[in-house]
């Protein structure tokens, strides 16, 4: 009776240990796959924020040293409508938007939220994986074309992604570097 135990118990422990190791490896690969998808989505988010506003810009100013871009564009404030000479005027506004990498106001990238339902209960970190912008460079190609090169990295998988694009700004009157 005891001899059966002496053979069966170590075998059992070895079997359970190997199964658990394989399971952990598979779940880790699943988590890496999710982090890669999140990285791609956040890179696209950053690019779209800049391209959509730069496309309609009237004035644009880039500063690579402090990694800042300033876009001035024309918006229409239709909260204020006044009637003059029997025609309605909608108030015209110019809005200036600064994009900096790490300020709290006008922050560029959408980091996934860290509140309780989205954190992993065991380790406590963000269940999608954090990402980081490695570099975001602006170049002036000519008077009306802005070229952007973005490089982002996922802190979970250490994978990097680099995207380059250019935007043609038809209404841009002033482009400073």
């Amino acid at each position: 009776m005891l001899i059966e135990f002496a053979i069966a118990l170590p075998l059992l422990i070895l079997l359970m240990y190997s199964l658990a190791t394989v399971a952990i490896e598979i779940f880790k690969l699943g988590r890496f796959q999710l982090a890669d998808y999140v990285l791609e989505e956040e890179a696209r988010y950053v690019m779209e924020r800049i391209t959509q506003e730069a496309r309609v810009s009237k004035e644009i100013e880039i500063d690579n040293a402090s990694n800042k871009i300033k876009i001035v564009y024309h918006v229409v404030n239709d909260d204020v409508i006044y009637i003059e000479n029997n025609s309605a005027h909608v108030e015209d506004l110019w809005r200036t938007h600064f994009f900096k990498l790490n300020s709290s106001n006008g922050k560029l990238y959408a980091q996934r939220q860290d509140n309780a339902p989205l954190t992993s209960p065991i380790t406590g970190d963000n269940s999608f994986g954090k990402t980081k912008i490695n570099s975001l460079k602006y170049f002036k190609a000519n008077e009306k074309v802005l070229r952007i090169v973005l490089e982002m990295e996922s802190l979970e998988t250490k994978h990097k992604i680099k995207i380059a694009t250019a935007i043609f700004m038809p209404g841009c009157k002033k482009f400073e570097e």
Binding site: M1, E4, A8, L12, L15, M16, L19, V22, A23, I26, L29, G30, F32, Q33, D36, Y37, E40, A43, R44, M47, T51, F139, A141, N142, K144, V145, R147, V149, H159, K160, I161, K162, I163, A164, T165, A166, I167, F168, P170
Partner: protein, 140 residues
Amino acid sequence: MKKIFNERGFLLLDVIFLTVITALAAMILMNAAPRIRNSQSTLQMTALYLTNEQFAYLESRAVNGEPLPTNFLGEPEDLITKNFETGKEIKFLVDTQINDSSNPCKVTITVTIDGRDDFEVKAERMIWLVKEEWRRLRAD
């Protein structure tokens, strides 16, 4: 009688262990398909942004009235990427077709991974060339 009682207990224990271990092994094996991410969606996104880049340069030339060339007008370093750094270099080949004013310009990007053609992204945009024309309105 005591001996038989003990043996039945161990038999039940063995059966339970076997069931649990088999179930665990089946769950793991069913999930053991390779979890390598399909990197094509990222490459397609990168290729689309590259077509936007080529169109931006083409549009800026069209507004100035210059003729449109068919080579890649951006920086050559944008054509090579190492996304997700799997060690393989990924190159983009940009092919531009300029048609006359009634047909759109087509930009085709072929992505090659490790020298082998992987997939192709096509984008079209109508780009109107700005032409100046002076016409005499009155016969003086």
